[in-house]
Amino acid sequence: MSGVILPDLRAVRLENGLRVVVGRRPGVPLAAARLVVRAGSALDPAGAFGLAHLVALSSRRGAGRRTGRAIDDLVEALGAHLGGGAEEDATVHGLSAPVEVLPRLLEVLAAVVARPTFPKEEVDRLRRRERAELAHDSDEPGTVADRALLEAVYGDHPYGHPVDGKDRDLARLRRPDAVAFHERWFGPAEALLVVTGPVDPGATLEEADRRLGRWRPAKALPPELPGAVRRPRRVIVVDKPDATQAQIRIGGVGIPRRSEDYFPALLANAILGGGFTSRLVEAIRVNRGLSYGVRSRFAVGRDSGLFVVSSFTKNESAGELVEVALDEMARFASAGPTAEEVARAASYLAGLFPLSLETHDHWADRIADAWIFGYDLAEVPRFPDRIRRIGEEEARGAALRHLPLEDGVVLAVGPAAKLEKQLARFGPVELWPVRRAM
């Protein structure tokens, strides 16, 4: 038994192409909804990084006949939360609300996504606020590292910039850019509405049709993206002269969610750097006390993905930490995991799996993910069985193919004067100022 009970699902496609899925399930008297459009930051035009994000934020600042303020007042008076954000592959507007007020708020959600008005003063204000937030982010070494890594690994691939954009581009964006992006990409044909919770499926489907059945088509359909290119390893030091601790990332091009290697890579990563007893934790935290934390993961997108090891250590031990991590990656790819490690990781991933699907919000997100990434929902309850079938060799193979053993990037944020020499042995060093990441 997998321990996962699929909600009672009703799925329909409206005449205009919009997919609607209602997942009825017992639980607390809340409902979760997601209205997903397959247009995300990967569609940001060159020179307009942050546009999808700005569109997502400003959509709720005016929609249909309501002002942003009126939307805030209505939604919050009902005890609900409504928020939108861009991801690489999609824009997701989410609603979490007491179940009894869901119908009223579906109307607001629909207006925000299908009929935003983008008031000029609100777009300009959000743009100023986003730039101000970037100024604060530039003082957070971990955030700087994560942002820099995207460009370092992906180069000019559409995934190669942070979702929340770049300061110089945000400075140039205006209302007409937001309107044009929305008209081009936002329509029912490549969109999905999900509602989960103790809802009435029939009434919810009717409400969805009433509110979104007349949503007009977008001008274009999202293109397939090219695969990302793997390049020989480089070292990048982002100079932050005042830091007493270096933020470290080892990154490379990973795999898309639909890769056949997805499940073996997930298991391999659990052993290498996923949990509290991973090889990286053992080598870096337990045996050497070099860091409080170290993790690795395959972040998967629809068309590509990122592998990343994240950690931090006092400046003096940055080189040692990188060396230990790279050695562990190489050892895993050559000798593979033991049978005991594979069994333990499979039990861990399978045993905890039901906890990732406990709430209405968990299910709404999972159903949205399945559609964005193109996998079958029926696969979800079978996850534990799938994971338990993976052998040592299959896990090793995935690691060998997808870990950045000789390619990718070693990136550190900290004082270049102390880091550059320590890291030069891992590849040619480039020195970046913090602002390049912002």
Binding site: G3, R69, A77, A135, Y292
Partner: protein, 428 residues
Amino acid sequence: MVWAPALSAAIDLSSVVAHTLSNGLRVRILPDRLVPVVSYYTFFRVGSRNERPGATGISHLFEHMMFNGSERFGPKEFDRVLEAHGGASNAYTSNDLTAYHDDFASEALPIVVDLESDRMRALRITEEGLAQERSVVMEERRLRTDNSHFGLMEEQLDSLVFQAHPYRWPVIGWMDDIARISRAECLEFFATYYAPGNAAIYVCGDVDPDDLLARIETAYGVIPRGPPVPLPAGGEPPQRGERRAAVRHPAHATAMVAGFRGPAASEPDSAVLDLLQTCLASGEGSRLRRRLVTELEVAVSVGVGWTWRADPGVFLLSMELAPGASPRKAELALWTEIDRIASRGVTEREMARARALLRSGVLHELSTRNGVAHAMGQAEALLGDWREAGRSLERYAAVTSADVRRAAREWLDPLKRNVVWLDPEVTS
């Protein structure tokens, strides 16, 4: 139109099985057999408020030691065994308590009881393990405090708000103390605070309560109750004027935190301050967000942190300024808003909004097994009764707008405020 949420309890706790072993260990179990997973919490009533100067941070450092081996399970075995059985663990230390939790597939229940009882009964505390965790905790401190504006500012704020009470030092402790704490101190700490008489277990999930109680009785029943726990230092002189400090640190834009000493969790005003917090800073329509972020654009973000504590804790306000905004103007705007509530109160519409938002928050918290087990533990630790976990909506319903105005006037008195500004040092 004012919409009133249904006033039913947020959770049904009537099927909780509650029992206290003869050694004082309290056990509370809520069966929920829908899916085969369990959340298992162990709470110890010890946190930084039980510490003394010279050994600050020992509660948190000790939390790390709990994963380093006990009599039947060697060093590093705890998580390895748990993961092999489909589980994961974590822990946190606060000013008042230390909580350990395991989330796992229900077949793992017997081994979890073994693992948890073994470390309560016979933890191994070695020089080697201590040395290793000491360096890990130092990295944690560098991460969260020494290289973070808000970490540095909050540390400074606590030492302004509290002149005498142990809440004046950070939970993670001073770097010098982390370096100094000895194995002997750890042994004494364990014997004093980690005994059954000072502990409680909260379980929610796919378990048979009678079977689990029997297992717990067998595994933990043999552990001696432990000594009476010394009372923490509680004194604090009343504040009779504003206190200010600055933190000079490299930064691109400035920020501020301010704090007021609030009531203890057990005082009725704690719930009143929850409502005040929601009116001030939860959601786009909250007063501070609307005024400082949206209308005046002096701040990029504002926040209010009101965390219930065993002794009177801190009502915390924070804001990150927009680059170029005047700190003086931003601070004035903040105090003007606080003063408006203290003098004129909030509207009924704002009260209804705050109750509705708090209700959704409570329902979210109680929508996972982990959330339910934690809420019971937190309620018993701070309010003396796990049943209080199901009563938060009643508490909020009893608060009136007059209460909110009075609480703002009383607790956010300008003479009792403490303010810390970040003073950006420009390096490049």
